[in-house]
C-alpha cells in the first residue's frame, strides 16, 4: 500500500514528459531532444516550448485544482459523491460563458462572463448555506445541487436557441477543453496557493471526518476550518473552470483512487490528489490532442474514459 505515493510522484514527470513528447506533429526523437535542449530548428523549439509545454502545465494545473477541490469538498460535506460541480460554480461559469458566446463575445469576454457566473453561484451557495448556527453541509449540498440544475436549464436554453455554427464551440466548453488555456502561470500559482492553504489545515481535516461536534470537542475551530476549506475549494474550482471549462470526473475520482490505495490522511491525500489530478489531466489532454489529430477531442470525454474504468477496477479489487 506504500507504493501508491511513489507511483503518483513518478507519474508527475512522466505525464509532463509524454505531454511534451506527443502532439499532432510527430517531431521524432532527435528533433525533440534538440528542441528540449534549446537547440535545433526554430519550429520544433516553438512547438515544444511555445505550445506543448504551456499546454501540458495548464492541464496539470487544471487537474490538480479540480482534484484538490474534490478532496476538500468530500471531507467538508462528508459525502463521497461531492465534486467541484456540486458547488454550482461550474454551472454558473458555464451559463456565463455560453451566454457570452451567444452574444458573440471574444475569448476574453467569455472568460470574464464565466468568472461572473462562477462568482454569482459561489456567492449564492455561501449566502444560503450560512445558517444561524454556522455552516451546514446539507444546505451547501442542496443549494449547490439546486443552483447547478438551474444553471443547467439556462445552458440548455442557450444551446437550444444558439445558431448551429456556435453550438460546437459551446459543447467543447461544456465537456472541458484545454485548447484556449494559454499561459498557465496564474493557474499554477493558484494551485500552489490552494495546496499550501489546504495542507496547513490537514490535521484538522482528519479530525473533521469524525463529525462536527466531535471535532469541536477535540479543539478544532470548525466554522473557521469550514470557511477556509470551502473558500479554497471554490477558488480552485473557479480557476480550473476558467482554464479548461467544465472538466468532469477528475475532482470526483482522484481522491477516491488515493483513498482506495490506502492514502487517507489529508497531509498526504491533499498534495497527492493535486499531483495525481494534474498528471491524469495532462495525460488525458495528450490523448485528446493526438487520438484524432489534427482534430482535437474534448478532454472531459477522455478524463471520464480513463477515470471511470480505473475507479471501477479498484472498487472491484477491494470488494
Amino acid at each position: 500500500m506504500k507504493a501508491a505515493p511513489v507511483v503518483v510522484l513518478l507519474l508527475v514527470p512522466a505525464s509532463l514528459a509524454l505531454a511534451i513528447a506527443f502532439g499532432s506533429v510527430d517531431l521524432g526523437p532527435a528533433r525533440l531532444a534538440d528542441a528540449l535542449l534549446g537547440r535545433g530548428d526554430e519550429i520544433a523549439r516553438e512547438i515544444v516550448w511555445g505550445v506543448r509545454a504551456p499546454r501540458a502545465l495548464a492541464g496539470f494545473a487544471c487537474g490538480g485544482l479540480l482534484a484538490l477541490a474534490g478532496a476538500l469538498l468530500q471531507v467538508l460535506l462528508r459525502n463521497p459523491l461531492a465534486d467541484p460541480a456540486i458547488l454550482g460554480v461550474s454551472g454558473g461559469a458555464a451559463a456565463g460563458a455560453l451566454a457570452a458566446m451567444l452574444a458573440g463575445a471574444a475569448a476574453a469576454g467569455v472568460n470574464l462572463a464565466a468568472l461572473a457566473g462562477a462568482a454569482i453561484a459561489a456567492g449564492a451557495v455561501f449566502a444560503f448555506s450560512l445558517g444561524r448556527s454556522g455552516w451546514n453541509p446539507y444546505r451547501v449540498l442542496l443549494t449547490g445541487v439546486a443552483l447547478a440544475s438551474g444553471f443547467g436549464a439556462v445552458v440548455g436554453l442557450i444551446l437550444a436557441v444558439a445558431p448551429s455554427s456556435q453550438v460546437q464551440g459551446m459543447l467543447f466548453w461544456l465537456l472541458g477543453d484545454l485548447s484556449p488555456a494559454g499561459d498557465p502561470t496564474a493557474a499554477l500559482g493558484m494551485l500552489a496557493a490552494c495546496a499550501v492553504l489546504a495542507f496547513s489545515q490537514s490535521a484538522a481535516l482528519d479530525v473533521l471526518i469524525l463529525g462536527e461536534d466531535k471535532a469541536r470537542s477535540l479543539g478544532v475551530a470548525v466554522t473557521r476550518l469550514q470557511a477556509i476549506a470551502f473558500g479554497c475549494a471554490t477558488l480552485a474550482t473557479v480557476a480550473a473552470v476558467l482554464l479548461g471549462g467544465a472538466i468532469g470526473f477528475v475532482g470526483l475520482v482522484v481522491p477516491h483512487l488515493l483513498r482506495l490505495s490506502g492514502v487517507h490522511r489529508h497531509r498526504a491525500l491533499l498534495p497527492l490528489a493535486a499531483c495525481l489530478g494534474g498528471s491524469l489531466l495532462a495525460l488525458a489532454d495528450t490523448l485528446a490532442r493526438t487520438l484524432a489529430a489534427p482534430a482535437e477531442l474534448p478532454v472531459g470525454v477522455l478524463t471520464a474514459a480513463i477515470g471511470v474504468p480505473v475507479l471501477l477496477v479498484l472498487l472491484a479489487r477491494l470488494r
Partner: protein, 249 residues
C-alpha cells in the same frame, strides 16, 4: 473543575433539566441515569460546551466554557458522543491517535507520548491485536472500545461519556467501567451516562438521576440508587432478580 450552575436545558418545548447544580470533582466517578429522552445527552453536550444551555451556565475553574478557546478546552475536557461517524479510512491506531489532536499540532511531528498512550489504552480495552486493522472492519462493540480508547488518549482531566457501554458484551462492560473508575481514582473527574444501575452502584461513587419534567436529584450512589428512587426514575416496578441477574465480578 467543571461546574454547572442553575443549568436549564430544554428540547422540543420540553424541559429536560431545570436549575441543576452539578460539579464532578477530580477523583469522582459519576453515573448519569434516566429514561430515554430524559436529557442525558443534552446534559453531556452542555457540560462539554457543545450546546448552549437555555439558562444557567457551565464554567471551568470559574471561566464560562464559551470564553475558553476550543483548543484549550480540548486539553481539559474529553467527550465520548453517543453517535459518531464511522466513516474513517485508516487503521484502529490511526483512529485512536486522532484523540491526540489537541496535544500535538504539527503535521509531521511524531507524538511518541501519544503513541504510547494510544497503545496502552488499546491494550487495556482488549484491542492490542487490532492496532493495524482497518477501523471500518471492526464490529460495533470493538468500534465502541476504539472510540473510548480515543477519548482516553486525549488525556483530559475531565471525561464525559455518553453511553460508553453501548454495544458492549458483559465482559467489556466491566472492562470499561473498571478503566473509568481507575481514571477517577488517578485524579480525573468522570461522568458517564449509563443504563445499568448495577454498574453505577459498583463503580461510580456518585449518581445523577434525571427524572421527567426537568427534576433531578444527585448525591452519593449509596443514597441515590434505592429501589424506590429507581422505580420512580424508570417508571416501572423493580424486583431483585436473584439468580437471573449477573454482573461481572
Amino acid at each position: 473543575m467543571l461546574a454547572a450552575s442553575g443549568l436549564g436545558l430544554s428540547a422540543g418545548g420540553r424541559d429536560l433539566v431545570r436549575a441543576l447544580d452539578l460539579s464532578p470533582a477530580p477523583r469522582q466517578c459519576w453515573a448519569l441515569l434516566g429514561r430515554n429522552g430524559a436529557g442525558k445527552t443534552s446534559l453531556i453536550l452542555a457540560l462539554a460546551g457543545l450546546r448552549a444551555p437555555q439558562s444557567g451556565a457551565v464554567a471551568i475553574d470559574g471561566t464560562a466554557l464559551g470564553a475558553v478557546p476550543r483548543a484549550e478546552l480540548a486539553r481539559r475536557v474529553a467527550v465520548l458522543l453517543q453517535d459518531e461517524s464511522a466513516d474513517f479510512w485508516g487503521s484502529v491506531l490511526d483512529y485512536v491517535m486522532l484523540g491526540r489532536f489537541p496535544r500535538s499540532r504539527s503535521a509531521f511531528g511524531r507524538d511518541e507520548e501519544g503513541l504510547l498512550a494510544a497503545r496502552r489504552w488499546l491494550a487495556e480495552l482488549d484491542l492490542a491485536d487490532r492496532e493495524t486493522q482497518a477501523f471500518r472492519t471492526l464490529s460495533g462493540g470493538e468500534r465502541q472500545r476504539a472510540r473510548i480508547a480515543q477519548v482516553l488518549a486525549q488525556d483530559a482531566e475531565i471525561l464525559l461519556l455518553d453511553e460508553p457501554l453501548q454495544h458492549l458484551d458483559l465482559r467489556h462492560q466491566a472492562v470499561v467501567m473498571r478503566t473509568l473508575a481507575a481514571r477517577a481514582a488517578e485524579g480525573k473527574a468522570v461522568l458517564a451516562a449509563l443504563h445499568e444501575p448495577g454498574h453505577a452502584a459498583r463503580h461510580c461513587g456518585f449518581s445523577v438521576l434525571l427524572y421527567d419534567a426537568g427534576r433531578a436529584s444527585l448525591g452519593r450512589s449509596s443514597d441515590m440508587l434505592t429501589q424506590a428512587n429507581l422505580e420512580a426514575l424508570y417508571q416501572c416496578r423493580l424486583e431483585a432478580a436473584g439468580a437471573w441477574s449477573f454482573l461481572p465480578s
